[in-house]
C-alpha cells in the first residue's frame, strides 16, 4: 500500500451548511456614491474645478501669512507699486500689500459663499421637508408664501436689507439667506413628493416603518444628489452677490477686504494705468465662479442616473 492516507477525525465531520456563504457577493459592491465619484473623476473639467477649489481654499487659509505683511498695514512710501519681489501682487493706493489682501479677501469671499450655501441648505431642507411631508393645506400655504417671496428679485432684496443692516460679514450672510433659501426649499419639496410615491418607500411604510426611519433611510439619502448640486451652485451665486454688494459699497468695509471690494477699489486706479490692481481680484473671483460652476455641472451629470453605464 503506497501512499498512506492520514485519516483524521475531522474528515468525517458533517459539512457546514452555510447558506449565508453561498449568497455572499463575491465582488466588492459599488455604492451609489462610489459610482458618482467614478463618473465625476472621468469628467476632466469638473476635476479641474475641484482641484482649483481645494487650491483656493488652501491659499485662503495660508496665503495671508505667506509674505509677512498684514492686510491692514499701510505704508505710504510704497503706494501703487507694481508686482515685485517684495510685494508679489504689488500694493494698493494706501500702500497695503495686495498679495495678503487678495488672499484675505479670498477667505472672506469663500467664507460668505460657504456659509450662505450652508444656511440656505439647512433652511431649505427643513422648510421644504416639512411642507412636503405635511401635504395638503399646510403644504399649499407654505409653498404660496415661498412663491411670493421668490418673486421678489433676489439682489434687490439683498441690497435693500444691507441698507438697513450695518455692513459686515454676518449682515451680508443674513441678507443673502433671508430670501436665498427658497429655491432649495422648492427643490427639496419636489424631491420628497416624488420619492414619497415610490414603491420602496410605500413598502417600507407598509412594513411599519416610522417616519423617522423613512426619512433617514430613504428620503434623505435619495434626495441628496440634486441638493448637493444646488448647494455647489449656490456658492458662486453667493460669492457673486457679496462681490456686487461690496462693489456698491454696501458689503465689506475697509480695512477688511473681499474680492468685490478689491475690484471696486481698483476701479479708480485703472484710469492711471494700475491695471494689475483690478486684474488680480477680478481674475480670482472669475476663477472661483468658474471652478464652482464646472464642479456643479459635473456633479449634475455624474448624479444623473440616465447617464449611468
Amino acid at each position: 500500500m503506497a501512499g498512506k492516507i492520514d485519516v483524521t477525525e475531522e474528515m468525517f465531520a458533517p459539512a457546514e451548511n452555510n447558506f449565508l456563504e453561498a449568497e455572499k457577493i463575491s465582488r466588492p459592491t459599488i455604492s451609489y456614491w462610489n459610482d458618482v465619484w467614478r463618473r465625476l473623476r472621468a469628467n476632466k473639467l469638473a476635476m479641474i474645478g475641484l482641484v482649483l477649489i481645494i487650491l483656493l481654499c488652501l491659499m485662503a487659509i495660508f496665503g495671508p501669512y505667506m509674505n509677512g505683511f498684514t492686510y491692514y498695514e499701510q505704508d505710504f512710501t510704497k503706494k501703487n507699486l507694481e508686482p515685485n519681489a517684495e510685494h508679489w501682487f504689488g500694493t494698493d493706493a494706501s500702500g497695503r500689500d495686495l498679495f495678503t489682501r487678495a488672499w484675505y479677501g479670498a477667505r472672506i469671499s469663500l467664507f460668505i459663499g460657504l456659509m450662505a450655501a450652508l444656511i440656505d441648505f439647512v433652511l431649505g431642507v427643513v422648510y421644504g421637508g416639512i411642507s412636503a411631508i405635511s401635504g395638503g393645506r399646510t403644504d399649499n400655504v407654505m409653498m404660496r408664501i415661498a412663491e411670493v417671496i421668490y418673486s421678489i428679485p433676489y439682489l434687490l432684496m439683498v441690497i435693500l436689507i444691507m441698507v438697513v443692516l450695518r455692513p459686515g460679514i454676518f449682515p451680508i450672510i443674513i441678507a443673502m439667506t433671508i430670501t436665498g433659501w427658497i429655491p432649495m426649499a422648492r427643490l427639496v419639496r419636489g424631491q420628497v413628493l416624488q420619492l414619497k410615491e415610490n414603491e420602496y418607500v410605500q413598502a417600507s411604510k407598509a412594513a411599519g416603518a416610522k417616519l423617522s426611519w423613512t426619512l433617514r433611510k430613504h428620503l434623505i439619502p435619495n434626495s441628496m444628489g440634486p441638493i448637493l448640486v444646488n448647494v455647489t451652485l449656490t456658492i458662486p451665486t453667493a460669492i457673486f452677490a457679496e462681490a456686487t454688494l461690496s462693489f456698491l459699497g454696501l458689503g465689506i468695509q475697509p480695512p477688511q477686504a473681499s474680492w468685490g471690494s478689491l475690484t471696486s477699489d481698483a476701479l479708480g486706479s485703472i484710469l492711471i494705468g494700475n491695471f494689475y490692481q483690478l486684474a488680480i481680484p477680478a481674475f480670482l473671483i472669475s476663477l472661483t465662479m468658474f471652478a464652482f460652476n464646472v464642479l456643479g455641472d459635473g456633479l449634475q451629470d455624474a448624479l444623473d442616473p440616465k447617464l449611468r453605464e
Binding site: E147, V148, I149, S151, I152, P153, Y154, L155, L156, M157, I159, L160, I161, V163, V164, P236, F240, A243, T244, F247, L248, G249, L250, T263, A266, L267, I270, L271, F275, L278, A282, I285, S286, L287, M289, F290, N293, V294
Partner: protein
C-alpha cells in the same frame, strides 16, 4: 375659457406678490433706526415739524403704510428727500427710457447670440465649434458683469479708445454697457439651447422629418429649433430679472443716468422714498414680465394643459 381663468388666476397672484413686495420693502425701510432729518443741525424745531408733516413721518406707521399703498396705487411715489425739487416720479420718468433702452438692447444681444451659439454648439457636438461656444458660455457665467465692465472700459475705452464711456449721449455709448450686461444671460441661453437642441435632435419626429426627405436646413429650422426654444422661453422671465438687477452695477460703473443709477445713488444718500419707489417700480416690472412669460408659455406650448387652480 379655461385660458381666461388661468390668466386671471396668474394675474391675481401677480398683484398679491406685488403687494407683498411693497409691504416688505416698506417694513424694511421703516425699520431703519433714526430719521433722515436728524443729521441737519441748523434746523429749527418748527422746520423739523413741518418736514415731518410733509413726509407724513409724524403719523403712526400703519397710517403711513396705508397712505403709501394708496399713493402707489395711483402711481405716485412721493417726493425725494434729498432733492428739493424733484419727485421720485420725475426720476423714474427721466431714468426709465434710458434703462429700458439699455436693458432691451442687452436682452436682444443675449437672445440673438445666445441662440446662435447654442444651435451651432448642438449641430457640431463635440467638435471645435461646440467647444468654442461652450468656452464662451462658461466665461460668460464665470466672469461677473462688473468685472467684465471694468475690463471692457480698461481695454476698449481707455487703452484703445474704440468706444467712449462715462456718459449716455450717442449709440456708441450704449455698446459697452449693453455687452457687459448681456454676457451672463447670453451664456445661460447658449447652454440651455444646446442641451435642449441635443435632446430635440434625438426625437423620433426629427428622424421622421429627415426620412420624408426634408432638407437639412428645413429640419433644423422648422422642427428642431422651434421645439428646442420652449425651455429658453421659460427662463426668459428670470433672465430679464437678472438683466434688470444687473443694470444697477452696470449703470453705476458707466455713469448711465438710468433707474439703476438712481437706485444706487438713493442708497448712498439714504434717500428712502427714492429707494422705496425704485424697488417697487422694479418689482412691478419684473412681476409683470414673469406674468407675461407664464402666459405666453402656456399659449405657445400646446403640451401644457391649463388646469385652473392647481399648478
Amino acid at each position: 375659457m379655461i385660458m381666461i381663468r388661468y390668466i386671471l388666476h396668474r394675474f391675481m397672484w401677480a398683484i398679491i406678490t406685488l403687494w407683498a413686495t411693497i409691504t416688505i420693502t416698506f417694513i424694511i425701510m421703516h425699520s431703519i433706526p433714526g430719521d433722515p432729518f436728524a443729521k441737519e443741525g441748523t434746523m429749527t424745531e418748527s422746520m423739523y415739524e413741518n418736514l415731518q408733516r410733509y413726509y407724513n413721518l409724524d403719523k403712526p406707521k400703519i397710517v403711513q403704510y396705508v397712505i403709501y399703498l394708496k399713493q402707489v396705487a395711483l402711481l405716485d411715489f412721493g417726493p425725494s428727500i434729498k432733492s428739493k425739487t424733484l419727485t421720485v416720479n420725475d426720476y423714474i420718468e427721466k431714468g426709465f427710457p434710458v434703462s429700458f433702452h439699455l436693458g432691451a438692447q442687452a436682452m436682444i444681444i443675449a437672445i440673438f447670440f445666445g441662440l446662435i451659439l447654442g444651435v451651432i454648439a448642438s449641430l457640431y457636438r463635440n467638435r471645435w465649434p461646440d467647444y468654442t461656444s461652450m468656452i464662451i458660455a462658461i466665461i460668460g457665467i464665470s466672469v461677473p458683469s462688473f468685472v467684465l465692465a471694468t475690463l471692457l472700459i480698461n481695454f476698449l475705452a481707455v487703452k484703445w479708445s474704440f468706444f467712449p464711456v462715462a456718459t449716455w449721449k450717442s449709440w456708441s455709448h450704449t455698446v459697452l454697457p449693453s455687452i457687459a450686461l448681456a454676457m451672463m444671460p447670453l451664456a445661460y441661453i447658449a447652454r440651455l439651447m444646446r442641451t435642449s437642441m441635443i435632446e430635440v435632435l434625438n426625437q423620433d419626429y426629427i428622424l421622421t422629418a429627415k426620412a420624408k426627405g426634408l432638407r437639412k436646413n428645413a429640419v433644423i429650422i422648422k422642427h428642431a429649433i422651434r421645439n428646442a426654444l420652449m425651455p429658453v422661453v421659460t427662463v426668459l422671465g428670470i433672465l430679464t430679472a437678472n438683466v434688470v438687477t444687473g443694470s444697477f452695477v452696470i449703470e453705476h460703473i458707466f455713469g448711465i443716468p438710468g433707474i439703476g443709477e438712481m437706485f444706487v445713488k438713493g442708497i448712498m444718500n439714504r434717500d428712502y422714498p427714492v429707494i422705496l419707489g425704485s424697488t417697487v417700480f422694479y418689482s412691478a416690472i419684473l412681476i409683470f414680465l414673469i406674468f407675461i412669460v407664464d402666459v405666453v408659455y402656456t399659449w405657445i406650448d400646446p403640451r401644457i394643459k391649463v388646469t385652473g387652480a392647481s399648478k
